[in-house]
Amino acid sequence: MKKINFDKVFSFILVSLLGLFIMKVLYSVAGEEAARFTADHYISYGVDETGAINIITAILFDYRAFDTLGEATVIFTAASVVALLLPRHEASMLKTEFTPVVQQSIAFILPFLWIISIFLISYGHLSPGGGFSGGVIISAMSILIIFTYGYRYMTRRFNVKKLSLIEDIGALAFLTIGLAGIIAGGTFLANSQVGIYPGPPGELLSGGLMPLSNFAVAAKVGTGLSVIFLSLARED
């Protein structure tokens, strides 16, 4: 008992000192009034250069699309890992069966979720959202289906294999979109900079290849997270 207390005291001192240091460095860095020249460029020219009025999407899918590619790879890997790790046979879980009321209500809600997710994806360059958020809504749909109708119901329609296939296709599509930049004479992941039509800012069909990338990423993320869920919730 005494030892545990000692550990706690030790940890407390440790983390409080650490916290003080973090605060110190935060204040000292924040006091520096950093030049935001990258940000200023994005804000001043971002809309014209990329055709997307959501600068964040412009950054994610054009200026720093390489990060997004990496991020997509991370989700892809995570989905594969979770699917690899979790056992095929799993003990049953504690759960309540939902009544038909819930099931019917969710059946009612699902199409709307589709619309919301596709809205988020396709308006990614115009409003908050984009491939990731929309993809997560798609996976939320699969979560709802798994939870209300059961795992088997879901796997009859979409099993892990099929979902992974879609994920692969989404990821490959993103890569291919990146290659378009090379074909157009620029570098990898080049978009508006190589003359791919950026469109009038503010319209749905603008931002060059950005909506397409958004859809590809959404397919990837949505199915990827669904795969993670299916794997985690595996119960037969």
């Binding site: 030790f10 940890s11 440790l14 983390v15 000192l17 650490l18 240091f21």
Partner: protein, 524 residues
């Protein structure tokens, strides 16, 4: 343009393919002969072969007089061992012998520190595998001990080399300008200096006797050669240390009764002679030391052969189990007598000339009488051996195996060779290309050669009961292994703190961060 050691190393490579024992045997012998021929055929004092390591030039072949002489005896002795061990050397050990002897010879003819270090380590590695045995745990332990202590010395040497290289920018094998201490430490381990000597009795008493015959001739002699090449001091301090070695070796040996332990300790003592010789600045003494090295290889080989033959024929190696053998093995007894007289420096025997040379080079009374005292001790020691092994009636072991002809032939050949060299000081002078003004066979020097032996002979009856044989274990824990064990205990502690507890690990890493931050805060 080969280094004389390389034929043997090549033979070792060939030996990987040739699996028949006889072919390997003659391959080795042939390689040895080629190597001997090379030593004579190649021009002296000329850089013959070079290689490069990074941008450093390695001198792979540089034959000097001294190295040729030592190489000569190395090669000859290897041939004699081949004769002696015709029926004893196994297939694998033949190949390792190639490497061992090859690298021992090769190290004599290199002209830079890196190749020197390379062969220095190769000797250790080859010796390790020579000693190593798959089945016997004792030998495994011995091999481990051997290589650990030699690699320690080697690394020390390496550090010295680097310090020197860093200081001078040269890697030519010459007395270093920096890091001498590390050189000396490395060499001291190799040549079994008092305090670092423990590996010698440990190894030579544990390994099969045919290997002891072989190995005793090379390892420490390479050390002596290195001492000769590397350590060059203004003062004679090294010589005094050598005296210490000579006396200490005897003191350590005299109370033991295992044959090979005794011989091993006497190696330490004899190496003391060589150190005295090399440590002195006079050329005569140095030549004497080197000549003593040559002689020592021969009579020590003979002694080990004798011990080996006894061991082979009776199965015993401890003096407390032996006795009354002179009739049963007269040839061995004869060899023993020759060897004893040689090692005691008795006139007209092998060791006499070199000891006389060393004594002639000595300019200090202390060293002179010290060496005489060591001579008394050595004589006493081997009189003890001869007495208890061959003459004493306490025990009467049977001959279980008759030694094969090859062993006897080996002993005979080496004895003959010893006797040949013992009477011909002119040959020695020709060999070393010096003409010292030493009267080898003047009455005073004969007297100084005879005196220790006679003294010992007289003293022996008095001291017999103090040094009488007793059963003993080969293994003792010594300072080095105690150090090792205490280190291992420390390791256990280190191992135990890896308790497998993730939280502990995490707190370590955070603690590291915090310590880092605090250092920055407090120091800045």
């Amino acid at each position: 343009m080969l280094n004389p050691g390389f034929p043997l190393l090549l033979a070792a490579l060939l030996g990987l393919i040739l699996k028949a024992r006889k072919i390997r045997y003659f391959l080795t012998a042939g390689a040895l002969i080629i190597s001997l021929i090379l030593m004579f055929a190649l021009p002296q004092d000329k850089i013959l072969t070079t290689a490069s390591f990074f941008d450093l030039e390695l001198i792979l072949n540089y034959i000097s007089l001294t190295s040729r002489n030592i190489g000569l005896i190395f090669g000859l002795f290897a041939l004699l061992v081949l004769v002696y061990g015709y029926s004893l050397l196994s297939l694998a050990s033949l190949n390792l012998l190639n490497i061992f002897v090859g690298s021992s010879i090769a190290i004599l003819f290199v002209g830079d520190y890196i190749s020197f270090f390379f062969f220095w380590e190769l000797i250790s590695v080859a010796a390790f595998f020579l000693i190593y045995d798959k089945v016997e745990e004792k030998l495994r332990y011995t091999a481990e001990y051997y290589i650990i202590i030699h690699v320690l010395g080697g690394l020390s040497l390496l550090f010295g080399i680097l310090l020197n290289y860093n200081f001078t920018g040269e890697i030519i094998l010459a007395p270093p300008e920096a890091g001498l201490l590390f050189f000396i430490f490395g060499i001291a381990i190799k040549l079994g200096f008092l305090g670092f000597h423990v590996w010698i009795p440990k190894t030579y008493a544990a390994i099969p006797f045919q290997l002891a015959v072989l190995m005793a001739a090379y390892t420490s002699k390479v050390g002596v050669y290195a001492l000769y090449r590397i350590v060059e001091l203004e003062t004679n301090i090294v010589a005094y240390f050598g005296l210490l070695n000579a006396l200490g070796g005897i003191l350590l040996a005299i109370f033991h009764s295992h044959l090979r332990i005794i011989i091993s300790y006497s190696i330490i003592s004899q190496i003391g002679y060589m150190i005295v010789g090399i440590g002195l600045s006079s050329q005569i003494a140095v030549t004497g030391g080197l000549f003593h090295l040559i002689n020592h290889i021969l009579y020590k080989g003979l002694l080990f052969m004798m011990a080996g033959t006894i061991c082979y024929s009776t199965g015993f190696e401890n003096l407390s189990d032996l006795g009354n053998l002179w009739k049963k093995t007269p040839l061995t007894f004869l060899a023993g007598i020759i060897a004893t007289l040689s090692i005691a420096g008795f006139p007209f025997f092998n060791g006499y000339l070199s000891k006389a040379l060393i004594k002639a080079g000595i300019d200090s009374q202390l060293l002179y009488y010290g060496l005489q005292l060591a001579g008394v001790g050595t004589s006493l020691l081997f009189i003890k051996v001869l007495y208890f092994a061959f003459l004493s009636k306490n025990n009467d072991p049977d001959i279980v195996k008759i030694p094969p002809l090859s062993m006897k032939l080996g002993m005979v050949l080496i004895s003959a060779f010893m006797m040949l060299t013992a009477w011909n000081p002119a040959a020695v002078e020709r060999l070393f290309q010096i003409s010292p003004d030493v009267a080898y066979f003047s009455s005073s020097s004969i007297l100084s050669g005879v005196l220790p032996f006679i003294t010992a002979l007289l003293l022996f009856p008095l001291l017999k009961k103090y040094i009488s044989p007793h059963p003993e274990k080969v293994f003792q824990r010594d300072f080095f292994s105690k150090l090792g064990y205490s280190f291992i205990n420390l390791d256990k502690k280190i191992s135990q703190i890896h308790s497998g507890d993730l939280i502990r690990y995490l707190s370590w890493s955070l603690l590291a961060l915090l310590v880092l931050l605090l250092i920055f805060l407090l120091a800045g």
